[in-house]
């Protein structure tokens, strides 16, 4: 057999594959962005403009989509005629509160779980992670009953606690991985120098701080985007943005512009946060099973 110095893969078949993948990618990008794009553009249209559509099969008139004069009226309405300021505040407090509670308690637990060994450790660990995986809808009814008897339904505190049911196990699970990567020798060295145990813990915190920061953001993201808990536990006094947006959908006379504006307000902050913690997203969304 003749030996080849360079393996040349530039056959017609691979060329065709490259062409195909390029076209596929282009289509996929359009399909991914289009709904978000339509949402944002529609939030600047008035009611009549939002309903404008070319006739079926009339491809030439597709440009009618851009035939509108931008208006900020929907955004102004949301904050003047509707109490969206309050809803925004509720969302921030509930998501932020549960993220902080989860990460503070979670990092304490994660640190100690990473340093100590005990008999039932694996079982405790599995229990923690299984609470994260449990379907929200399955536990919603009993949780609602308990929260009602404690008078927590419709309060921000109740919502924070409800979000903690999925954020706390998540924080413990992920942050344990971070603490596992910090050698115990560092704490020991600190203690040899006269640091107490809590001081030694504080000394290693800077090593895991970037990770902890990213997971505060991720916890906020999960809580912010939640709908079921907010709709049931938060019903009444603690309406968050997704629930408020959903309630704008009425059987008749749907105000699409307003809904799209509310959707944009709900979505954009999370997209920005997602960009900030881009590096940790894979780890976070796969519960630490896959690292980038």
């Amino acid at each position: 057999m003749a030996s080849r110095d360079v393996v040349n893969y530039d056959t017609p078949l691979t060329k065709a594959f490259n062409w195909f993948s390029g076209i596929f990618l282009a289509f996929y990008l359009v399909w991914t962005i289009l709904p978000i794009f339509v949402m944002i553009v529609s939030s600047f249209k008035n009611l009549l403009e939002a309903f404008k559509l070319p006739a079926v099969g009339d491809w030439a008139n597709i440009g009618v989509f851009f035939d509108f004069s931008p208006t900020f009226q929907h955004y102004i309405n949301l904050f003047t005629q509707q109490p969206f300021g309050t809803y925004l505040f509720n969302s921030i407090v509930a998501a932020g509160g549960s993220a902080i509670v989860s990460v503070v308690l979670g990092s304490m637990a994660a640190y100690s779980l990473s340093r100590v060994d005990f008999k039932l450790k694996n079982d405790v660990f599995f229990w923690i992670i299984s609470t994260r995986m449990a379907p929200v809808i399955a536990v919603l009814v009993p949780l609602f009953f308990i929260f009602r008897s404690l008078d927590l339904v419709g309060s921000l505190l109740g919502l924070i606690l409800a979000y903690t049911t999925f954020n706390l196990p998540f924080a413990i699970w992920i942050l344990k991985g971070f603490f596992d990567n910090v050698p115990y020798a560092i704490e020991e060295a600190q203690m040899v120098d006269g640091a107490s145990r809590p001081q030694a813990l504080l000394a290693i915190l800077p090593l895991v701080a970037p990770g902890i920061g990213a997971f505060v953001v991720l916890c906020i993201l999960f809580a912010w985007n939640d709908f079921l808990f907010a709709a049931i536990i938060g019903s009444g006094g603690a309406k968050t943005l997704p629930v408020a947006t959903k309630e704008l959908v009425q059987p008749q006379n749907i105000q699409w512009g307003t809904i799209m504006a509310a959707g944009t307000i709900t979505t954009l902050p999370m997209m920005l946060l997602g960009l900030v913690i881009r590096k940790y997203l894979v780890t976070g969304l796969t519960m630490g099973a896959v690292k980038e």
Partner: protein, 326 residues
């Protein structure tokens, strides 16, 4: 570790001691010799984890017990009576319950098939491409969206009178006048498309992370042996991707149990129960029919299934961890 038969004994000892220091907190060499610090006591760690464990127990175990109790009772406001497992035995004859499982299986199967196929293909295209970072970031955008909001935007796009996607489907001759969500035959596909739109990128980024881990030397060895790119993919890349894909599949499957937000907005189970997957049925039983005992029974069964799946998932995680360090 060094398996050499004749190592310098001293060096070997030093390594062993160092290893002990690094891996086992208890063997703390320094405090034994110097008595500067108290020995690491377990109690300290237990106190540190106590608040989290207590809080988690309060908001998960207590509701779980409450759920088990409710599932065995005929729950009425005010008074509840025990009813001899009637909530469970009645489920046996509950057609909508079984239909819920079947629809959930159908829904999950197509969601997973589409997402895995498209997601893996995208990852292969994007891997090491020139604009990988920018493109992946763009693809991630749908995942940051609240599923309810995504559902509402798509509801708008699907709308039979002013929806752009409906116009597109009609113009391409795929659909008639009826919106995709209004027809019993197509409604399920309406929600499958939205789930695929939102979550395919997750499969893509998981696969991308897996692709980076495919050993180069194996690919090169295979190429030297004259394998084509396709052969390279099927006999080296794919086997290496397998564990990562398994995790992706499990995660997505469990998410199909967990998230019904977008489907609730799009169809809420209709038309004619054609999209009433089990979680949506459970939502109806809980909050529309307020048959709370039955709801607790269904919830209990779903929870058990999730725990079994979770156990399998954690086992895959554990197998995955050592591989991650190679």
């Amino acid at each position: 570790m060094t398996k050499d038969k004749t190592p310098s004994i001293d060096l070997f000892r030093v390594r062993q001691i160092l290893d002990n220091v690094e891996s086992k907190p208890r063997s703390s060499v320094s405090s034994e010799g110097l008595k500067l610090n108290p020995l690491p006591s377990k109690a300290y760690y237990y106190w540190l984890m106590a608040p989290a464990i207590a809080l988690l127990a309060a908001i998960t175990i207590y509701p779980f017990i409450q759920m088990v109790i409710m599932s065995l009772q005929d729950v009425q406001i005010g008074s509840s009576t025990w009813n001899n497992f009637a909530n469970f035995t009645k489920l046996w004859g509950d057609k909508k319950f079984w239909a819920g499982w079947k629809l959930l299986a159908y829904y999950s199967f197509w969601c997973l098939l589409l997402q895995i196929t498209i997601g893996v293909f995208l990852a292969i295209i994007l891997n090491n491409s020139r604009w990988e970072k920018v493109l992946v970031t763009t693809l991630l955008m749908p995942m940051m969206m609240a599923p309810v909001i995504a559902g509402m935007v798509w509801y708008f796009l699907y709308n039979g009178t002013f929806g752009w996607y409906h116009w597109l489907f009609q113009s391409l001759g795929i659909l008639g006048v009826k919106s995709i969500l209004a027809d019993v035959k197509t409604a399920m596909w309406g929600i499958i498309i939205v789930d695929t739109w939102q979550w395919t990128p997750l499969i893509t980024i998981i696969t991308l992370a897996g692709l980076k881990r495919v050993p180069r030397d194996q690919l090169e060895a295979n190429m030297v042996d004259g394998a084509s790119p396709l052969r390279n993919f099927t006999s080296v890349t794919l086997p290496n991707l397998y564990p990562v894909l398994l995790i992706a599949i499990m995660l997505r499957f469990m998410d199909n149990f967990r998230f019904i937000d977008s489907a609730m907005v799009l169809t809420a189970g209709g038309p004619a129960d054609s999209t009433k997957i089990l979680p949506i049925y459970l939502f109806d039983v809980s909050f529309r029919f307020t048959a709370l005992g039955r709801a607790a029974a269904i919830g209990f069964i779903m929870l058990i299934v999730t725990i079994i799946l979770g156990k399998a998932l954690v086992r895959i995680f554990d197998r995955q961890q050592p591989a991650a360090h190679q």
